[in-house]
């Protein structure tokens, strides 16, 4: 963005929004919107609270375990679909349906199936993110240039070498894009899941804060989650930029 010939850094727009938030908060326009400064004040005390740290750790565990299964499962699924026409015709439709379905609606069913604990949260994380990872991996694998595969074969690559030394790397830009999208969906899933469960970890805190009209705490918690989601997606984005130079060059 340029104003009067001077380059304005993108973070500036964020500052403007924060400023507006602060003003709106101070004007007491709505009781759900406390000033930004008091949210930040609450954030620092919140981070130091033991129950918050325990809840955050529990949430992170569910997130990490769920993402592990989503990434390994999603990549495996994508590879199976990308390398076998039969598998793709059987699985493709379902993966597409799940990737676009409003999965929040099945959360209550999952609660019945897996109980009201951590397991359900893990399952929700997996279900929210695995499909997009599978679809992107599939796209990467199936768009690998034919001559690259022929090259591997002509120089004597066996099936495993073809997979590990050619297909995986050729599909890596798409795989990483899938993982990044999967992470964002997983954060959504974890928030929705815990809110609906509202008896575990951060979900319980969210519920408590909003039930008791503690909006400083509520917004502080929301900000923390936002920052986490942003952080993860930036990290993956960094990895992506390392393989970006060949993402668009294949035919």
């Amino acid at each position: 963005m340029k104003i009067a010939g001077t380059e304005i850094p993108p973070v500036f727009s964020l500052l403007i929004w924060i400023g507006l938030w602060e003003i709106a908060g101070r004007m007491d326009l709505a009781f759900i919107l406390p000033p930004f400064s008091s949210v930040i004040g609450e954030l620092t005390t919140l981070i130091a609270r033991h129950d918050f740290l325990a809840a955050a750790w529990q949430t992170f565990q569910a997130f990490a375990i769920g993402m592990f299964f989503a990434i390994t499962g999603g990549i495996a699924l994508g590879f199976i679909m990308g390398t076998s026409k039969t598998a793709n015709s059987i699985l493709g439709m379902w993966v597409n349906i799940f990737a676009s379905a409003p999965l929040s609606s099945v959360v209550p069913v999952l609660m019945l199936l897996f109980g009201l604990g951590q397991l359900t949260v893990v399952v929700i994380v997996v279900l929210f993110s695995i499909w997009i990872i599978a679809l992107d991996t599939y796209a990467g694998v199936s768009h690998t240039s034919n001559s690259l595969k022929e090259m591997g074969r002509s120089f004597g690559a066996n099936q495993r070498q073809l997979l590990v030394k050619i297909l995986f790397w050729a599909a890596l830009p798409e795989i990483l894009a899938g993982v990044r999208l999967g992470l964002i969906r997983a954060v959504k899933g974890i928030v929705i899941g815990q809110l609906l469960l509202s008896v575990v970890a951060l979900g319980r805190m969210f519920r408590t804060f909003s039930d008791n009209f503690q909006f400083e705490e509520f917004w502080a918690l929301t900000l923390i989650l936002f920052v986490f989601a942003l952080l993860f997606s930036t990290l993956i984005g960094r990895l992506e930029s390392k393989v970006e130079y060949y993402a668009g060059t294949r035919d």
Partner: protein, 282 residues
């Protein structure tokens, strides 16, 4: 030009030699022909008839070009010889043995280079050796020597996207040479290379091959290129591909590239082949 001069230009002395077409019953001679194809017929699906009963011999240590109009199945034939495509019927003999899959005695150079975009020049050149389990140090040494031979010294650590088209194909050539196969299969290797680099590359290729003693099977749609580089030119007819004729341009390879391109035999052979191909285009 008077008729006497014309007569001289067309005199048999200056003509390329036409070989009799080998038929199915001709026995292969593995001592002189490293690769032979016998009765190759290829259909894609049920409708597309790409090749019909192709019989050919590729003499050891010589450069044979498969030439013909688009869609005559020349790349299909090359990929069948490489073992990358299955035949509908017929067989490919390498050193007298029937083959149906790729093997270490054949190395392929691809039209679109087929380099690993995430690997350096060195790793790309060494890739064939990496697949067969040659230790890292040894394969990097081999790669280095072929990188030098194709004229890419100093570019060892570059990535394909940092190289020009001509340089990328030199990497593809070095990769094929590095595995030390007896037969090089080249699929329109210069078609994605600009004209000036193409000529330079053709000259370098001939020089390199005279040292490396390889048998080369070369696919091109450029008549000039075919005549310039080949010992034997196989002219294929349009789909289904059949052998139209086999031409051996008797060029004096010891003269300079510029002299060869001005040579009467060279020019006459180009015109003659053009005359043959033009029939198909009308």
């Amino acid at each position: 030009m008077n008729s006497a001069v014309l007569e001289e230009v067309r005199s048999p002395m200056n003509k390329a030699i036409h070989m009799p077409l080998s038929d199915e019953n001709t026995p292969t001679n593995p001592a002189t022909d490293i690769v032979s194809v016998r009765g190759i017929t290829k259909y894609y699906g049920e409708d597309v008839h790409a090749l019909e009963n192709v019989n050919l011999d590729f003499p050891t240590g010589q450069m044979t070009t498969l030439l013909g109009p688009s869609g005559c199945g020349k790349t299909t034939l090359l990929k069948i010889i490489a073992g990358l495509l299955e035949t509908t019927s017929g067989e490919v003999l390498v050193k007298g043995k029937a083959v149906t899959s790729p093997g270490p005695e054949r190395a392929f150079v691809f039209q679109d280079f087929a380099l690993l975009p995430w690997a350096t020049v060195t790793r790309n050149v060494a890739f064939g050796l990496e697949l067969t389990g040659v230790p890292l140090k040894q394969r990097e040494e081999t790669a280095k020597s072929y990188i030098d031979k194709v004229g890419l010294s100093g570019f060892e650590d570059k990535y394909p996207h940092e190289l020009s088209g001509g340089m990328r194909q030199r990497v593809g050539l070095a990769r094929a040479l590095a595995v030390d196969a007896d037969v090089l299969l080249m699929d329109e290797p210069f078609s994605a290379v600009d004209e000036q680099n193409r000529r330079k590359f053709q000259e370098d290729l001939l020089r390199l091959l005279s040292v490396e003693k390889k048998t080369v099977i070369f696919v091109t749609h450029s008549i000039e290129e075919a005549v310039y580089v080949s010992d034997q030119i196989v002219l294929l007819s349009p789909r289904p591909g059949r052998i139209h004729s086999i031409i051996r341009p008797e060029l004096d390879r010891s003269s300079s590239p510029d002299d060869i391109r001005r040579d009467k035999v060279y020019l006459d052979t180009v015109e003659e082949i053009w005359g043959n191909i033009r029939e198909y285009l009308d």
